[in-house]
Symmetry: C2
């Protein structure tokens, strides 16, 4: 299937859109397509362990108000078949395979966390395919990370009803309330929900994450190869991939805007969803 | 005069609005008032040596599309009487006197460079008067500055038709072209232009600037006293007050957004005027 079937997608939401499939390269990719077929489609690249339903409907639906937004499970994740690779380069290749299967010749990318690693590589290596790139809560190759320490602490906190509350939000009451609201939105879809990730996803993804951050890139070869306009976004208190990464990427990228949000963690884009959507739209529409 | 005379201001522009005067505390303040009388008025605080006509009409007029914008000459500057103080605290007091004379009980502040120093002090000391504060191309007390070195180099460059081209814009052709466009906009008003600053303005202002940056504030007392929402903005390559200042302020302020722009200097708000206006409106309207 290469046809986008735009008319059927307009007016649907992340919570109500049917999950579709496209097959090629030995992988059957699960995806949802939202919004009108205006301009350049925006493809979202998901965080560690996340599937299609881990995106925030408040972000996805607002972005889809005036553009095509495509959310998908990369190889091995959720309802997509194939094997989850243990390195970022192979994941980026899989994402490009998916984009090609949809017949898209030019896209904007929004990569969150691990998805931001993929977005950097794809933008650097596929200059014609990627028009603009949005890097959220992410890090450059060789960047600073505290993933294992923070993950261990979060999973040890048996009181948290969802590990994303301590991982994505700060301890402040405002941030935790925003976290509760996010979880409610993300759990609103009850029928045809995406499949949760098991260790066959999280083990190779964890290896890819750690390897990316542990592999120095002193010349910033990947960032320097990104010539597209970039929007770099982070929360003030991201405990896993600190905001210093965003500032460092901004300084190396040739055409980047940096936006940092107050009292927010790794999930700054979900906590400040209206602000984030406004900034993304301003960036994409400029 | 305490009446704002709103109806007469709607539809006028920075280039066409009459210069008005309000007197009190021994000072006659020159100002222009633009835009409809919706919501909280936005008061602009100007940079070193700048008068009312040194603002960018593209920024001021766009901001005035849906709110009251007030530009003025502080004591001793342009067509305002009185003496320009040699310290930021006295300048901030003068600005508060002006705001009080207009009868405004709550304002938003946009402070650029030296004006950002005043905005910090006013926001910290007048919690009820200031609703939100925008800090552009500025520094905290004790912040990093290269003012004298950069100014000397810029004034030594006899080839530049206007010192703001090397001071406010980067050497890139894109930034210099944006600088030329800014100068054209800023010089569009030919009748009733504001009076340029002489050494009776620039000498005390220079002392105030240097003293502010040379006076350490290791506890960040001023920034920590600012409880209002803040938007901190800088250009990537500000040679006089580097973007590190903006990042440092963001980290200390309790409720700040940080926005940094690519390939831009001290005049980032003029170079990226449409983007800047969009970010300011999003911030003020949230």
């Amino acid at each position: 299937m290469t046809e986008l079937n735009a008319a059927a997608c307009e007016g649907t939401t992340l919570e109500t859109a049917p999950t579709r499939y496209v097959e090629g390269g030995g992988i059957r990719f699960a995806y949802r397509r939202l919004g009108p077929s205006n301009g350049t489609p925006l493809v979202l690249l998901q965080h560690f362990s996340g599937n299609i339903d881990a995106w925030d409907p408040a972000v996805v639906n607002a972005l889809a108000a005036d553009r095509t937004v495509i959310v998908f499970d990369n190889a091995g994740v959720g309802r997509s078949t194939g094997q989850t690779p243990d390195n970022v380069a192979a994941m980026a290749d899989d994402a490009v395979t998916f984009i090609n299967l949809l017949g898209l010749s030019e896209v904007d990318l929004l990569g969150f966390s691990l998805g931001g690693f993929l977005a950097q590589l794809i933008a650097a290596r596929h200059g014609r395919l990627v028009r603009k790139v949005i890097l959220v809560g992410t890090a450059p190759q060789g960047g600073e990370e505290h993933l294992m320490a923070v993950l261990q602490e979060a999973f040890a906190d048996k009181q948290a009803p969802d590990v994303r509350l301590p991982l994505f939000f700060t301890p402040s009451s405002v941030s935790q309330a925003a976290g509760q609201a996010f979880l409610k939105r993300a759990k609103a879809r009850t029928e045809d929900r995406d499949t949760d990730s098991g260790s066959d996803v999280t083990n190779p993804q964890a290896k890819a994450l750690i390897t990316w951050c542990a592999t120095p890139d002193p010349e910033h070869a990947t960032l320097r190869a990104i010539t597209q306009p970039a929007l770099v976004v982070s929360g003030s208190n991201d405990t896993m991939l600190p905001a210093e990464n965003a500032y460092a990427m901004f300084k190396v990228l040739s055409d980047a805007q940096l936006v940092l949000y107050p009292d927010s963690g790794h999930g700054a884009l979900f906590q400040h969803h209206a602000l984030f959507v406004s900034h993304v739209r301003t960036f994409l529409d400029a």
